[in-house]
């Protein structure tokens, strides 16, 4: 007999750790800032924990069968994010708390609204068009905005949002549907030129089209990170659907080739690459490389166990709360904390991929794997940038970095993964 659908004990017990994380984090940070702290320091984590518990009870009330690990992991990462906003930009804390409440709403809505997930695949061209519109929206003169050199924002009321964040979800949905539809082509043996398989037209066209769009994003929106994610997601899903690593290789070669040309033609790309190669040179360390160099100082100050929450100097890094939260966390929590943060992300990706493996249809498999891949790639791109393994980009660390658009879409992503998990559990009759 399957366990009672109401028994989400694993999730509940994992949430106890989230509570411990949030409370100790806030106590440490507030305690380090002001030697005497009142109960006010506990209000934010308390509100947040009530919120998370409400989500848990909501899933229980929905007789939800999905994965029980994913939500607590996302909640734990979001809690670390709130602690870091308190530490690095406490005047933004209420905003970020509001965003987490909105995110919870978006999560609940995504759990409830698409009654049938396969409906998503039926409107794939709608999603593609919507995604494309959102992608180029920042380029329009009245609504587009350039912040910190990247033109990836649009004005909404008094604030601005990054449409890219929504685009990545739409893209995954579209790719999953598109690749499922044209998957039969795979049953034909691909034509070969020598030993190399030539991608059939239904693959070749999107490869070239996606590459073109990615290049345009790099040139006009001035954001290498968005380009990398955008094209990375596409290549990963192409590989998942076809199993041809060679197609992905063609894409990587195209991307590198295009990147090389763009590097020589456009100043903003050159600056990014140069600061990556030699940030400590005199002409860069006080200019374009300043942010990265300050980030590396922060990492270096971390050591094995860190300076202790509130005791480092990560606030010397410009825009630390969005671009450099990872280095800030590593300075105060040390290598141990940084590895733990990466491990938490990897657990999320692992659970997501497990959900993909168990999904009943090709569309759902591709959808879940693509969504999990977003989280993995985003983490890798920004951590790699922070640790000077690759050029720095404006990609945010999922759940942790300050920013509303990113938090809301990431929680919708969690909800979608849980929906896939729920469907497969119900169909297979096991959790």
């Amino acid at each position: 007999m399957p366990p009672s659908p109401r028994a989400r004990f694993t999730e509940l017990s994992l949430l106890v750790w989230v509570a411990a994380l949030a409370v100790t984090g806030f106590v440490a940070v507030v305690g380090a800032e002001t030697s005497a702290f009142g109960p006010a320091a506990l209000i934010v984590p308390a509100v947040y924990l009530v919120l998370v518990l409400a989500l848990h009870l909501f899933l229980v009330a929905q007789r939800f069968h999905g994965d029980q690990v994913l939500m607590p992991v996302a909640a734990g990462l979001t809690a670390i994010g709130l602690v870091l906003v308190q530490r690095l930009a406490s005047d933004l804390l209420l905003q970020q708390l509001s965003w987490s409440i909105i995110s919870a709403g978006a999560f609940a809505a995504t759990i409830l609204i698409p009654r049938d997930l396969t409906a998503l695949s039926r409107f794939k061209w709608t999603w593609a068009l919507l995604g494309l519109l959102l992608l180029i929206a920042p380029l329009f003169p009245l609504i587009g905005r350039e912040i910190n050199g990247a033109r990836i924002w649009i004005k909404v009321g008094p604030g601005s949002i990054e449409p890219w964040e929504a685009v990545k979800l739409l893209l995954v949905v579209f790719f999953a549907a598109y690749l499922e539809e044209y998957r039969e082509v795979l049953t034909q043996t691909p034509r070969r030129i020598g030993p190399l398989p030539v991608p059939p037209v239904p693959y070749l066209v999107p490869i070239v089209a996606m590459w073109g769009v990615a290049m345009l994003v790099m040139i006009f929106e001035k954001d290498i990170g968005a380009t990398l994610l955008f094209f990375g997601i596409f290549l990963a899903m192409l590989y998942l659907a076809t199993g041809e690593a060679f197609y992905a290789l063609i894409g990587v070669v195209l991307l590198l080739g295009g990147g090389f040309v763009v590097y020589h033609l456009f100043g903003h790309v050159q600056v990014r690459v140069d600061t990556w190669i030699r940030p400590f040179d005199e002409d860069l360390r006080f200019g374009a490389g300043y942010q990265l160099v300050q980030g590396l100082y922060a990492l270096a100050n971390g050591g094995l166990l860190g300076a202790g929450l509130g005791n480092g100097m990560p606030d010397r890094i410009p825009v630390v709360w969005s671009d450099f939260v990872f280095d800030a966390f590593a300075e105060e929590a040390g290598l141990a904390g940084a590895i733990a943060l990466l491990a938490l992300n990897l657990v999320f990706v692992y659970r997501g991929m497990l959900i993909a493996l168990r999904a009943p249809t090709t569309f759902l498999q591709l959808l879940a794997a693509g969504l999990s891949f977003i989280v993995a790639l985003q983490t890798l791109v920004i951590v790699g940038g922070n640790a000077r393994l690759i050029p720095l980009t404006g990609i945010t660390l999922p759940f942790v970095a300050y920013g509303g658009s990113s938090l809301v879409t990431n929680w919708m992503l969690v909800a979608l993964l849980l929906r896939v998990s729920d469907v497969s559990t119900r169909m297979r009759g096991r959790p």
């Binding site: 998942l240 199993g243 590396l296 094995l304 010397r316 290598l335 990897l346 498999q365 983490t379 890798l380």
Partner: protein, 479 residues
């Protein structure tokens, strides 16, 4: 086909796990392996912030006279610099602009984390205690420093004095200088620093160690060393007729004599009357390989090892002497030669120190808060550059240049002391007044001080510089 996708998902997940591993290794590199070097990077704001909450160590001269110290103010400690003539040496410790000078070179010692005292570093790290700040003792002698600053006055240029036996720097002046207090004062630091960076006279540069000038006649000791050690007879008379060229192939290129000389010169005469044509002929006689070899031995074209940054200069633009006219010009210190005052002081220190070149250093000791010596800064000599005999022969001739009949460097005479020295009038870009040099040491029998003086753009050249050198040596000798 579901199985294919499943295996693709597994492969992708494995690849991602591998990428996470690589990212973790990258993070490990910065947090653990690069940690020590970045923690002591002079531009790391953490180093300077440490000095806002607690006193940063003092910088003092050899007799304990305070040059820089931390003083308590309403909001933490602020740095105070007492001697503007040492601005480029002490440098500054600014939260905004990083560290420079001694503040940078001994940054760890000044916050109580001298590498020679690992116990207090680890105690500070693990107990959260703050090690009491150490103190850096410089070889600078306030008396000599003041004499050098007074001697140069407002004239653009540099003076550096050092002890030829140890390499300890006794005085170091670079004009124009600046007020480091303005660079660390939050209320005016930005405008002060911008003004300093835009100032065409480059006050932030330490001309004594980083300024590069043609050495002019002061370089003749290098040509002479190469000649003496190749068996060239210093008593042999060479014919000097101004203007000079060895043969017609030089076309309209001539070596000029400063005194329009006509006569027979030996090496002592060449030094005394600073005869370019004599040394041009010596250079042509020994050849470019010999001269290049000795210039390199004396450190021309390589930055001297020093606890602050030092310029390298060049023998020639291409690094080699590739034509006879360049060989002739290099032999008397022109051509494409560029050297720093410190490099020239070291060349003369080598002669003063029986042919052994000392390693120069500004600091002499690091002391802890209880005034115990944690570390002595006493780099050993660079090595034997020329033989003691050659050094003695050169010293005799340099004494002649100061006190022999008609000696060009007569301005450097000190009553009752044998001074050895050489002036130089280094020609510059066309239309600019020449730079005036004097480099000398005293007492000639057992030298305890070497001084190098350069006065930029002075019509009188070496004649201006020699008396300034004497003033500095007198202060050092207590005469």
């Amino acid at each position: 086909m579901t199985n294919t996708i499943a295996s693709n998902i597994r492969t992708l997940t494995l690849a991602l796990a591998g990428a996470f591993l690589v990212a973790s290794i990258g993070v490990t590199y910065w947090t653990i392996f690069a940690s020590a070097s970045l923690a002591n990077d002079p531009f790391n704001p953490r180093l300077i912030a440490a000095s806002r909450d607690r006193p940063r160590g003092a910088i003092v001269d050899r007799n304990g006279v305070v040059i820089a110290s931390s003083e308590k103010t309403a909001d933490g400690f602020s740095r105070s610099y007492k001697d503007q003539t040492l601005a480029q040496v002490t440098g500054y410790a600014s939260l905004q602009f990083g560290l420079s000078g001694i503040e940078a070179a001994y940054a760890d010692s000044l916050i109580g984390q001298d590498p020679a005292d690992p116990v207090s570093i680890w105690r500070a790290r693990y107990l959260g205690e703050h090690a009491a700040a150490g103190k850096v003792v410089l070889g600078i002698d306030e008396k000599v420093q003041k004499a050098a600053a007074d001697a140069l006055g407002g004239k653009r240029g540099a003076i550096i004095a050092l002890d030829p036996r140890t390499g300890a720097i006794l005085a170091s002046v670079s004009v124009p200088s600046y007020d480091a207090n303005a660079v660390v004062d939050p209320s005016r630091q930005q405008s002060a620093f911008n003004a300093l960076q835009q100032d065409g006279s480059r006050p932030l540069i330490n001309r004594a160690t980083q300024g590069l000038y043609p050495p002019g006649s002061t370089f003749k000791v290098v040509t002479a060393s190469a000649a003496l050690e190749s068996g060239f007879d210093p008593n042999k008379k060479l014919r000097v007729d101004d203007p000079y060229q060895p043969d017609k192939s030089w076309g309209d290129y001539f070596v000029r004599s400063a005194s329009h000389a006509h006569g027979d010169f030996n090496m002592a005469d060449g030094f005394r009357l600073s005869e370019n044509i004599y040394f041009a002929q010596v250079g042509l006689a020994i050849g470019s390989a010999r001269l290049t070899d000795y210039a390199k031995r004396f450190g021309v074209g390589a930055a001297p090892k020093l606890d602050l940054s030092a310029g390298a200069g060049q023998l020639t633009a291409s690094g080699s002497i590739d034509r006879p006219t360049l060989l002739a010009d290099t032999s008397y210190g022109q051509g494409e030669l560029l050297v720093s005052p410190l490099q020239m002081a070291l060349i003369y220190a080598t002669i003063a120190n029986h042919g052994v070149m000392p390693t120069p250093h500004y600091a002499t000791e690091v002391r802890d808060a209880q005034d115990h010596v944690i570390r002595e800064v006493a780099p050993g000599p660079v090595g034997q550059v020329i033989s003691a005999n050659t050094a003695a022969t050169l010293t005799t001739m340099l004494v002649g240049a100061v006190s022999g009949p008609g000696g060009f460097a007569f301005g450097a005479k000190i009553p009752g002391v044998n001074v050895a020295g050489k002036t130089g009038t280094a020609e510059n870009r066309p239309g600019e007044a020449p730079h005036g040099w004097f480099i000398g040491f005293a007492p000639a029998e057992a030298p305890t001080v070497v001084v190098a003086v350069i006065v930029e753009n002075t019509a009188e050249g070496g004649l201006t510089a020699a008396p300034l050198g004497a003033q500095v040596m007198r202060a050092a000798l207590g005469k």
